[in-house]
């Protein structure tokens, strides 16, 4: 039995370049990178040096605060480079793959024989623990914490996002094993949210050991943060953990085979993608190996979705949590009389100030132009309409801006991370960097608590 939750607020971005349900590239890893910057608040301690040979599953660096938490190489090969930024901040550990696909073999007992402590230790030493994220704040889960429950979103509503039904169709056994493993970590149960419309036909609806929820509605209905807000909102002092479904499969493969296997099928899509489709890659794959998908010219390559992904460039690497790459044209052009044009039919606006809302299912080749200058907050009802949570977004943003800890707490900072408010930033007519504001708010909270 599962409850159905219908969300009305939100927006499915009509962006062109959706990936065809077809794997057109199987990328044998060449150069991969593990990036400590993918993990919020992580202070890494490097465990390898350049030239070391590693296997898939060899720890590369560990968390300084919790040294048992390690981050592993996804492939076998040699450490090619350790890239550091300002103040010697560790940015990337690059591995040159040797093509042998050797992996550290772990001895994995049956999940049912492990208690929370045992399972935690197993995931920590295997390097899979960072798959678990924690709310509040979206950091890596604290192994010492008692989570209220674990939440998994089984629906991907992100713009141009990978279709789980397609990318994970061969991983059902692994997902089941992953869920069983996660079930050992909490007393509150593992919650899986699926799309209400396709629920009965979904390959995931037969999974056992989970509490099923059904959601319906536009993006961000598929964001786990939004789902938690409707299933069991996070209160002060509470902790919940979340795992992305593709990473549940990774955990499951480890439980079944005892190896660190981060292979995943990612969507490579976007208006500037050539023949957008799916590609099979490992975590941290170099964008150079996906170059066949990218159009010529001044193009932005984003690891993740267009709303909250990270622009990594043609030379960059896929981030740890991402299962899609978005490709966009840079919008560095002047548009004459843009805002005066009554129709402006090539650009999309959710606002009724343009007639785009009458155009139905038309898709738009969006680019990275700001479409205006930054201004103070003026319109107050646009943010509400794309945030299906019991939160007053404008007031939360202003609390973050002023760094008022009490207000941030009262207004629900524990319940959101950047991706949940990404649409607010998209629709903002004042072009305010809302995700950045929330990020700074979260960082301030973490520092002060």
């Amino acid at each position: 039995m599962s409850d159905q939750i219908r969300l009305k607020k939100g927006l499915n971005l009509p962006i062109a370049g959706e990936a065809l349900c077809e794997v057109t590239a199987r990328v044998a890893p060449d150069l991969v990178a593990v990036k400590p910057t993918d993990f919020r608040g992580l202070v890494p301690r490097l465990l390898v040096k350049e030239g070391d040979s590693v296997k898939a599953g060899t720890p590369l660096f560990a968390d300084k605060k919790c040294t048992a938490m390690v981050f592993c190489s996804p492939v076998s090969g040699t450490v090619d480079a350790v890239v550091r930024g300002d103040k010697r901040k560790l940015l990337e550990v690059r591995i040159k793959a040797d093509g042998k696909n050797e992996a550290v073999q772990f001895d994995v007992p049956k999940a049912s024989s492990l208690d929370k402590k045992g399972m935690t230790e197993l995931l920590l030493q295997s390097g899979l623990w960072p798959c678990l994220k924690q709310r509040p704040f979206g950091t890596i889960a604290d192994p010492e914490a008692e989570p209220k429950a674990i939440f998994i979103s089984g629906m991907n509503t992100k713009p141009l996002g990978a279709k789980y039904e397609f990318t994970l169709k061969d991983d059902i056994a692994a997902i089941q094993a992953g869920i069983d493993a996660l079930g050992r970590l909490t007393k509150g149960g593992v919650h899986l949210s699926l799309c209400a419309k396709s629920f009965s036909g979904s390959v995931f609806s037969k999974l056992s050991g989970v509490v099923m929820h059904q959601f319906e509605g536009p993006h961000p209905a598929g964001n786990v943060g939004v789902q938690i807000n409707h299933i069991s909102p996070i209160n002060k002092g509470e902790v919940v953990w979340t795992v992305d479904l593709p990473l549940v499969a990774v955990i499951g493969r480890f439980m079944l085979k005892g190896v660190y296997d981060t292979r995943r099928t990612i969507a490579v899509a976007g208006p500037a993608a050539v023949k957008p489709a799916y590609a099979e890659v490992t975590a941290g794959v170099s964008m150079k190996q996906l170059a066949g998908f990218f159009a010529e010219g001044n193009v932005r390559v984003v690891s993740g979705d267009v709303l909250s992904g990270e622009a990594v460039g043609r030379e960059g690497f896929l981030s740890f949590y991402d299962d899609q790459v978005s490709v966009l044209k840079e919008g560095d052009y002047f548009e004459m009389f843009g805002w005066m044009n009554p129709l402006r039919s090539k650009k999309f606006s959710v606002s009724h100030a343009y007639p785009a809302f009458l155009c139905g299912k038309k898709k738009y080749a969006m680019d990275t132009n700001e479409n205006g200058g930054e201004r103070p907050f003026l319109m107050n009802d646009v943010y509400d309409k794309v945030l299906p949570m019991d939160i007053y977004p404008l007031y939360l943003f202003k609390a973050c801006l002023t760094g008022d800890l009490d207000k941030m707490e009262q207004l629900g900072i524990y319940e959101v991370i950047e991706e949940d408010v990404a649409l607010c930033e998209y629709v903002c007519p004042s072009k305010i960097e809302i995700q950045n504001i929330v990020r700074q708010g979260i960082e301030l909270m973490m520092k002060e608590m």
Binding site: V302, E310, G338, W339, A353, G373
Partner: protein, 391 residues
């Protein structure tokens, strides 16, 4: 071509250029013609909606155009009526046009001048907010207001009403209304009385000599129906509800024609630029108090006629809905709008000396809007705390 021009003069205004201190102004003009080539930053949303404040605010301005056009004709019509000139359509329009243009020039030159200067001083981009305020001001002041008074009022509204709070988006009161309130309290002789709402009338009366040999046909007909009605009832004013709806009555330029304002309201609601909740609740509030007034025997005016009179419609549609100074929460908007309507009619019913309540009702509720929001938001906070306790 225009692009080349801007490209050519850009170095002069960029950092290190001769006129780099005028950078904000250059930017304002350039972005007026061209949506800039700025791209989204790498840490945020990579694509953005194509709507911006310029677009939203120009829609507000467009929505006021019907009221302005009607007002221009009506200026000439009223003048022609009062002085018995028997003008034709184009003469009336021309008269109104000549009367209104200086007001717009003053409003925009003074207002935008201050906006540009203050943006320059702060090194900000020039915000478009004043486009709307500057458009409203000539529509709500008496057409014969001395130009220097208008200039001072605009300066007051922009400096004290807006810039001291940090500029567009930070102000507490609607700047356009503040300009009107400033005039009203500083120069009451020019702002109230029966003769100010028809162009040329007060001058003719003050001079004691009829204008250009023509007779002032009926000086009293210069009074707005509102001030008449507040004393004697609508029929004594010699106007019908239909006249009020159409708008061929004396009054401020933009406020007389309910039908023109309704067209504007339709534009604002359809484009979602202004809140229909505020408009609706304001009407409800006015009807409610208007009904109480007739039921309690305070007035004979049916409550629906109150909606047609004076500045109520204009205020409800264009000024109460200002997103900066109105309530910011959806629930708060209902309360805020209702109270504006209710207060406006309350002032009308109980203060015959000052029959136009809309200005003060809106300014007062602007003041209290943050308080309303505070309680609405607090309810959300309490809900969150309660949730924590019950779990």
């Amino acid at each position: 071509m225009a692009k080349n021009f801007f490209d050519k003069i850009r170095p002069t205004f960029s950092e290190g250029g001769k006129l780099s201190w005028l950078h904000s102004s250059f930017d304002a003009f350039e972005t007026f013609f061209f949506v800039p080539d700025r791209v989204t930053r790498r840490g945020g949303t990579h694509v953005k909606d194509c709507v911006d404040l310029k677009r939203l605010l120009i829609i507000v301005v467009m929505a006021m155009v019907p009221a302005l056009l009607f007002g221009i004709w009506n200026l000439g019509y009223q003048h022609s009526q009062v002085f018995g000139l028997g003008w034709g359509f184009w003469q009336m329009v021309w008269y109104g046009f000549v009367k209104i243009i200086p007001l717009y020039l003053i409003s925009y030159i003074v207002g935008l001048g201050i906006e540009f200067a203050s943006a320059q001083m702060k090194g900000h981009e020039v915000s478009e907010g004043y486009l709307v305020s500057g458009f409203i001001i000539p529509l709500i002041v008496p057409v014969d207001v001395p130009w220097w008074m208008l200039a001072i009022a605009v300066a007051f509204a922009v400096i004290i009403g807006k810039e001291v709070f940090g500029g567009t988006g930070m102000n507490i009161w609607n700047p356009a209304l503040l300009a009107r309130a400033f005039l009203f309290f500083s120069y009451p002789s020019k702002m109230s009385g029966d003769s100010i709402w028809v162009g040329g009338l007060s001058k003719a009366l003050a001079g004691g000599t009829p204008w250009k040999g023509g007779e002032v046909v009926d000086a009293v007909s210069g009074a707005t129906p509102l001030s008449h009605a507040s004393l004697d009832g609508l029929s004594a004013a010699g106007t019908s509800a239909w006249n009020l709806f159409l708008g061929d009555v004396p009054g401020a330029v933009g406020e007389t024609s309910v039908i023109a304002i309704l067209i504007g309201a339709l534009i604002l609601v359809c484009t979602g630029v202004a809140s229909w909740k505020i408009m609706c609740s304001s009407v409800l509030g006015a009807l409610f108090v208007g009904w109480l007034g007739t039921a309690g025997g305070v007035t004979d005016i049916p409550c629906w006629e109150q909606l047609l009179m004076g500045g109520f419609a204009f205020g409800t549609v264009f000024m109460a809905t200002d997103p900066v100074t109105s309530a910011q929460t959806e629930c708060g908007k209902w309360i805020y709008g209702f109270l504006i309507g209710a207060l406006c009619i309350t002032v009308r019913l109980f203060n015959p000396g000052y029959p136009e309540g809309m200005m003060l009702a809106i300014l007062l509720m602007n003041t209290f809007a943050p308080l309303i929001d505070h309680y609405v938001v607090n309810a959300n906070v309490k809900r969150r705390l309660k949730r924590a306790k019950t779990v």
